[in-house]
């Protein structure tokens, strides 16, 4: 498949601070590509450079056959963009917002009205099309903004944290529609700080932190890293010492007050070991939790891996 987004040695400095530090990657036509990273990783800065809103300090971006710096209008004509925490015009109705977008993309009126009505139905907003956006919930607004980004039949959608902070129903609808549009051939570039979202939606994920991409791979790779950084938190009725956790599947033990966090690859085995221990020593387990790794854990893991190379 051909590359539809190509970023080369992208760099963005804010005075002396490197928000994005020389990243390169390519997104293939028809992919859902995710940029995953914690707050402040440089995701938004990256997406703004890809869409031509920010000038890179160094490096180049190609969208299809266009250089985003030199042919920004042509490139944007084939892009749909949902900026981070964007809002629609709250004093206009939903349909007016969509029609305004249509005008900004030079779509003729008849076609624009049809398209807007279709999208309103698809995003479950048709009944409220004439209501001012002021009256909308956050989830409804985000659906509208996504619909606005789809007015121009874009080839590529750029979504900056598209489901962050929304209600469950909106999140599900938005994810379903992202998949649907992708199946119809739209390439999707999204950012998220949510590992699950990256796993659920993306064909490939780039993991970003401190302005750098640390890995680009299929979400399966993420999962294997996640497994390696999963942990169990356990507390026994009678206090135990660290040395009782001497078991081959437990890689690391952290004491947290009266609890212990046990890291390892095979959670099932570790849990069985704990139950065994409890029965053998007649020491009741009073709490047992499986902890999902945080993004931080994953980055630590990835950095370690990189250092080993």
């Amino acid at each position: 498949m051909e590359n539809i987004i190509k970023a080369e040695r992208l760099k963005k400095n804010y005075s002396s601070f490197n928000a994005v530090n020389g990243i390169s990657f390519a997104v293939k036509k028809g992919e859902i590509f995710g940029l995953l990273g914690p707050n402040g990783a440089g995701k938004t800065t990256t997406i703004r450079m890809l869409t031509g809103i920010l000038k890179p300090t160094e490096g180049e971006v190609h969208i299809g056959k266009y250089n985003i710096q030199k042919e920004s209008m042509e490139a944007r004509q084939i892009m749909g963009i949902v900026p981070e925490m964007a809002d629609a015009y709250i004093d206009l109705s939903a349909i007016r917002n969509l029609l305004l977008t249509g005008e900004l993309y030079g779509i003729e009126k008849e076609k624009s009205i049809k398209k807007a009505e279709n999208l309103l139905k698809m995003f479950h907003l048709y009944e409220k099309r004439n209501q001012k956006v002021k009256t909308f919930s956050k989830g409804m607004k985000q659906r509208l903004i996504l619909a606005m980004a789809l007015m121009n039949d874009a080839d590529i959608l750029f979504l900056d944290e598209p489901t962050s902070g929304l209600d469950v129903e909106s999140v599900r609808l938005i994810r379903d529609l992202i998949r649907k549009f992708n199946q119809e051939g739209v390439t999707i570039f999204l950012t998220t700080h949510n590992i699950k979202e990256a796993d659920l939606l993306c064909d490939r994920v780039a993991i970003m932190n401190y302005g750098k991409i640390m890995a680009i791979d299929r979400p399966e790779m993420l999962k294997s890293v996640i497994k390696k950084t999963s942990s169990v938190e356990v507390a026994f009725k009678n206090l135990v010492e660290e040395k009782v956790f001497n078991f081959k599947e437990i890689i690391e033990v952290k004491k947290m007050g009266d609890k212990f966090q046990l890291y390892g690859n095979k959670m099932e085995d570790i849990i069985l070991f704990l139950i065994n221990h409890s029965q053998k020593t007649n020491n009741e387990i009073i709490s047992l939790k499986i902890l999902e790794p945080s993004l931080e854990d994953i980055f630590v893991k990835l950095t370690q891996k990189n250092e080993n190379f």
Binding site: I53, R76, D91, T101, I145
Partner: protein, 246 residues
Amino acid sequence: MRIFEQLKRSFAITKKDLSIYYLKGSVIIQGLLIPAFVFISFILKREMSLDMMIPGLLGMALFFAVSAITPVITPWETRMRTFERLVSSPVYLWAIILGDIMASVLFGLFVVSFIVLAGIILLGVEIISFPLIFGTIIAAFCFSSLGTLISAPPADKPSDIMLIASIIKFPLIFISGVFIPITEMGVLKILSFFSPLTYYTDLARYSIQGTSYFSPVVDLLVLSVFTIFLFVIAVKWHEKSLDKRF
């Protein structure tokens, strides 16, 4: 053709601005009331003749109407998080700014025609002339460009920009021959040459009183130069501050 397409998109922004910011009772009433009050207070206080006052009033009304909203649109939209969507659409920044300018020009022309109409009906002042109509349109573009220039610093607090706007706008009123004709300003006259409002009031004086400091051609020419200059600077500055807006 490319430019024409961009202008069409500018006009979409104009329509948006008009319906969101201008077609509001409070804004329209303010646009009309402020000049009306100033006008009345002048009639009461001074023994200035009407045809002396009307040009100044016209200048002031146009200046305030046109520059009332333009300075706050960009900071407001930055704050309301609609601006990034706007600049990410296939519309050049100059076309976006021009859209904002056209909205305030239309609003300014509406306010001024109202005043002119009132002047004609109530006071029987002869004011309509070709140079004045032409000059009013150019001046509206000019003052509006000044308004968008004021909105260029990358603030997202409309109140900050309002403060800057007041600091710039009010002194201009006093050095532009609105209250005191330039001929009576003495050495301070030099200052008035730097204000675009001077040339518009001067043009209005010419149309109404038949005499003016500069010739109408000079007035029109200088207003046009100011307009282009202010517009270009506004666009350049907005481009610069885009990096800091987000």
